[in-house]
């Protein structure tokens, strides 16, 4: 696999898995407006994953769908921290959201400076949406920053931001759910 694919795949995997995890709040977020906002963020993340997978897929001669849903669990390179199932713990969910968006901002910034025009162009597009994700994460951070539960959650999750390689125990179940109805399943009619 090329260096470029190795750079982009972990990011795409992070966005897909985190989008998936955040979407688990759809319908059960603390209140309706937040439900709409958080679901929309989750949807954006999955959209970013799709665009990143597409770049890699063009290069590897495969499709974004196959990269997203047809790999074996051990081939995913997402951060452990994105894999955790945090429903129904809102404090930890927001702590992860805040830590992720902060870390992601630096990563997107680096991609924007890439010599590869496709990568730089996509990063610039992604950044325009991420700006709102950060605004959302920061307003929650401001609101919860003195809450002991939130402070504990930040402490617990911060060391996990860049832990890759080994999959979290939660991932196997997520992978099953995520790939259960994938298009390549024999006999699928959707």
């Amino acid at each position: 696999m090329s260096e470029r694919a190795q750079l982009l795949l972990p990011i795409a995997d992070d966005e897909l898995v985190l989008g998936w995890r955040n979407s688990e709040w759809t319908g059960i977020a603390p209140f309706l407006e937040e439900d709409v906002a958080f679901s929309s963020i989750a949807q954006n993340e999955i959209g970013h994953a799709r665009a990143l997978y597409q770049l890699v897929a063009d290069e590897l001669g495969t499709t974004a769908d196959e990269l997203a849903f047809d790999r074996a669990p051990e081939e995913y390179r997402c951060s452990q921290f994105a894999q955790l199932r945090l429903v129904p713990d809102w404090a930890r969910t927001i702590a992860r959201h805040y830590l992720y968006e902060t870390a992601d901002a630096k990563r997107i910034e680096a991609l924007k400076a890439s010599d590869d025009p496709e990568i730089a162009g996509l990063a610039a597009k992604i950044e325009r949406e991420e700006a709102y994700h950060r605004m959302h994460a920061e307003m929650w951070f401001e609101r919860l920053k003195d809450e002991p539960r939130f402070v504990d959650a930040l402490e617990e999750l911060r060391p996990l931001v860049d832990v890759r390689g080994e999959l979290a125990a939660d991932f196997a179940e997520l992978w099953e759910e995520m790939t259960m109805v994938r298009r390549s399943v024999v006999g699928a009619t959707w």
């Binding site: 407006e33 937040e34 906002a37 929309s40 709102y132 307003m139 609101r143």
Partner: protein, 96 residues
Amino acid sequence: MIVYEVFRQERKGQAFAHAGSVGAPDSSFAEAYAREQYGRRGESVALWVVPRDAVLEIDEFVDELQKNYHRVDGYPLKEKLKEARERAGTAAPSDR
């Protein structure tokens, strides 16, 4: 939770129209939620987000003496326009 009324402008220069409301704990949340619900599909070029308490509502209009001559419905313009058009020999815009 504070209720914020949201007004949206569809195109530059157009009047803002009431779009709906969002509940939010403060104005920064209200901004985020208003963006999500009334702006993310490109349906607005601008939003006004106003705490409902800031809206001065007036819903009582006293007309004890029934001064209906203040109202335009006392003047049936339609008939007069039709007559005037006939005199001038021009059709109403919709008939053209």
